[in-house]
């Protein structure tokens, strides 16, 4: 089921945000703002025909390997995976419950490779998967979604150097550049910019896009399976943390905010129907 029409993708994105909001409020847990900045990216990857997967055969050899290294946003993936049939929809209601499979960070969840929770691991693991594909002449592509705050981790740059050196052009990174880490704006806390030239100097091709524009996301992924460049690709997706809810948007402390019961109505209203 590939969706290409922008308005339908936008509907999916709205539904994802609505589900995430309800799940997190119900559980009193989860990173709403972090999930909202990468909603369009996740929707494009899974509904838009970018990633290859088979929900009837989750361990299909030819599946693309998607790594949610930006682990706080994992809750944004759950409504998509359940909608696509990776696991039953009832699991969304049991988010963080003892009889459910879904927690704030993904482990042993159908559709999620390995375990994510600690920042800075995913790019190196993705590089290992991409290198193994080269060794075994496998066609899958490895896609890693990173947070911008995650790029403070030294291990990210160890992996960046490794992937550049080994010319892993079957590896695609996406940075959810929402400009906010947990307790401040990134450029106030510790400058990440110039981010593009950092990645370029580590041997990566870099494309900068608006991470909420489906057109720009698809344009960035155009021809990504058969890239002529020998370099790995980093897509820096500029986004708004908390996108869609006014009191979360660009709020430097928004990372940990779960709307209260009172705020819930306002949030529901803003996300629309």
């Amino acid at each position: 089921m590939t969706i290409t029409k922008t308005d339908e993708l936008q509907k999916k994105a709205r539904r994802v945000r609505q589900e995430v909001l309800e799940m997190c409020v119900r559980a009193g847990e989860g990173r709403v703002a972090s999930a909202f900045s990468c909603t369009e990216i996740l929707v494009a990857l899974f509904y838009g025909g970018i990633l290859r997967f088979d929900t009837n055969n989750l361990q299909w050899e030819g599946r693309d390997r998607f790594i949610m290294s930006k682990s706080p946003g994992t809750v944004g993936l759950y409504p998509i995976l359940s909608d696509l049939g990776f696991f039953p929809e009832i699991e969304l209601e049991k988010f963080c419950q003892c009889d459910g499979i879904l927690g704030p960070y993904g482990d042993n969840i159908p559709g999620i490779e390995a375990v994510w929770g600690s920042l800075g691991h995913g790019l190196g693991v993705g590089a290992g998967l991409a290198l193994a594909a080269k060794m075994d002449k496998k066609k899958y592509v490895t896609v890693v979604l990173l947070g911008d705050g995650e790029c403070y981790e030294g291990s990210i740059w160890e992996a960046a150097m490794f992937a550049g050196h080994h010319e892993l052009n079957n590896l695609v990174g996406i940075i959810d550049r929402n400009w906010i880490c947990t307790i401040d704006f990134t450029e106030n806390a510790l400058k990440l910019n110039p981010l593009e030239s950092k990645w370029q100097s580590f041997g990566w091709d870099v494309i900068t896009i608006d991470g909420h524009s489906f057109d720009e996301i698809f344009a960035a992924f155009k021809g990504f399976r058969t890239r002529k460049s020998h370099k790995p690709l980093m897509i820096i997706a500029s986004t708004v943390k908390g996108k869609g809810i006014s009191f979360l948007e660009n709020n430097p402390m928004g990372h940990v905010i779960i709307p209260s019961r009172e705020q819930l109505e306002k949030a529901r209203e803003e996300l629309g129907n």
Binding site: E113, V115, G117, V125, A127, L131, D136, S155
Partner: protein, 311 residues
């Protein structure tokens, strides 16, 4: 020719890798003469990761997820400590078929000072659920560990000394599946030693014999999972244990066995020998460091005799 434990291991791993292309060896810029052959003949199975231990574990994880059997090769202090959180998440929690192989156990790099001494690794690895910890005492065991780590899935930490020691297991067919070997039986006490301290244990036992004390010797080469039943069954009627290790006394095999004795409510008297809770920078070599720690044969013998004097 007697090989180092490391070379015996790498030679056997070379044989395995020639037959199974899934075997991948990653080095963080750490070499060995025996590694050169591997690098040349199994070039596509060798990865130089740079001096980047966190990425070593992460890349190993990606390779393991893709079905590879991965070995990470490093000098002892840096693999367990620089990237502990990666080891915790991917090896201990997810239990992939990845083996960390380190050279430079204890005071192996004696002259290099505390940055290069590996004295905490047993304690920190023991804290991780699911880890297997192997500590070799000779090169026969070194070669056997290559086969064991290849055939048994799950995460493992294998610890080798840097120096060459005389063989203990020469000519013996031992699968090393018991986790410990009773090298000598003794009526008066049992010395439980690990790594190179097994060699020290023989010298201590000889000294004690001159004082008519009959000491048994156990080589505890698998520290985790501990073979608890076999270990307890080796304790003589005198109910005395002496533990010997060249790593910090806090969290080492002495601590581990003490906990076992306490948990079982065993009436056993136990004395621990290891590196005290302190870093030593002194030059002069390993023997000097052993003197500072009371790990030399004379000190251990003297302390043991005075301990037994109260029996």
């Amino acid at each position: 020719m007697n090989l180092s434990m490391r070379d015996a291991f790498l030679d056997e791993l070379y044989n395995i890798a020639r037959e199974d292309r899934r075997v991948i060896l990653i080095s963080n810029d750490f070499g060995a003469p025996s590694l050169d052959k591997f690098r040349e003949d199994c070039a596509s199975q060798f990865i130089h990761i740079g001096i980047a231990e966190q990425n070593m574990v992460n890349v190993a994880t990606g390779l393991a997820l893709a079905g590879k059997i991965v070995y990470m090769y490093s000098i002892a202090p840096f693999l367990p400590l620089r990237c502990y959180e990666q080891l915790r998440v991917h090896l201990a929690f997810k239990r992939y078929h990845i083996t960390g192989v380190v050279v430079g156990a204890g005071y192996s790099y004696d002259l290099s000072g505390p940055t290069h001494h590996a004295l905490e690794d047993i304690a920190v690895m023991n804290a991780l659920p699911g880890m297997t910890i192997l500590n070799a005492s000779d090169s026969v065991m070194g070669a056997a560990f290559a086969r064991m780590t290849y055939e048994n899935p799950g995460p493992k930490y294998v610890r080798f000394d840097r120096e060459i020691f005389p063989p203990i297991y020469n000519g013996q067919k031992d699968a090393f599946s018991d986790g410990l070997t009773i090298l000598k039986k003794g009526h008066d006490l049992t010395i439980i030693a690990t790594g190179i301290m097994v060699h020290q244990a023989f010298k201590v036992a000889d000294e004690l014999a001159r004082h008519s004390i009959d000491a048994g010797i156990i080589d505890l080469y698998r520290i985790k999972p501990l073979n608890k039943e076999l270990l307890l069954s080796t304790i003589p009627e005198s109910r005395r244990i002496l533990t010997m290790e060249e790593n910090f006394i806090n969290g080492g095999i002495g601590s581990i066995i003490s906990a076992l004795v306490a948990d079982r409510g065993e009436n056993i008297k136990l004395r621990r020998f290891g590196v005290p809770d302190e870093y030593f920078s002194q030059g002069g070599g390993r023997e000097q460091l052993h003197l500072l720690c009371g790990l030399d044969v004379a000190s251990i013998t003297k302390t043991t005799l005075s301990w037994l004097g109260g029996k």
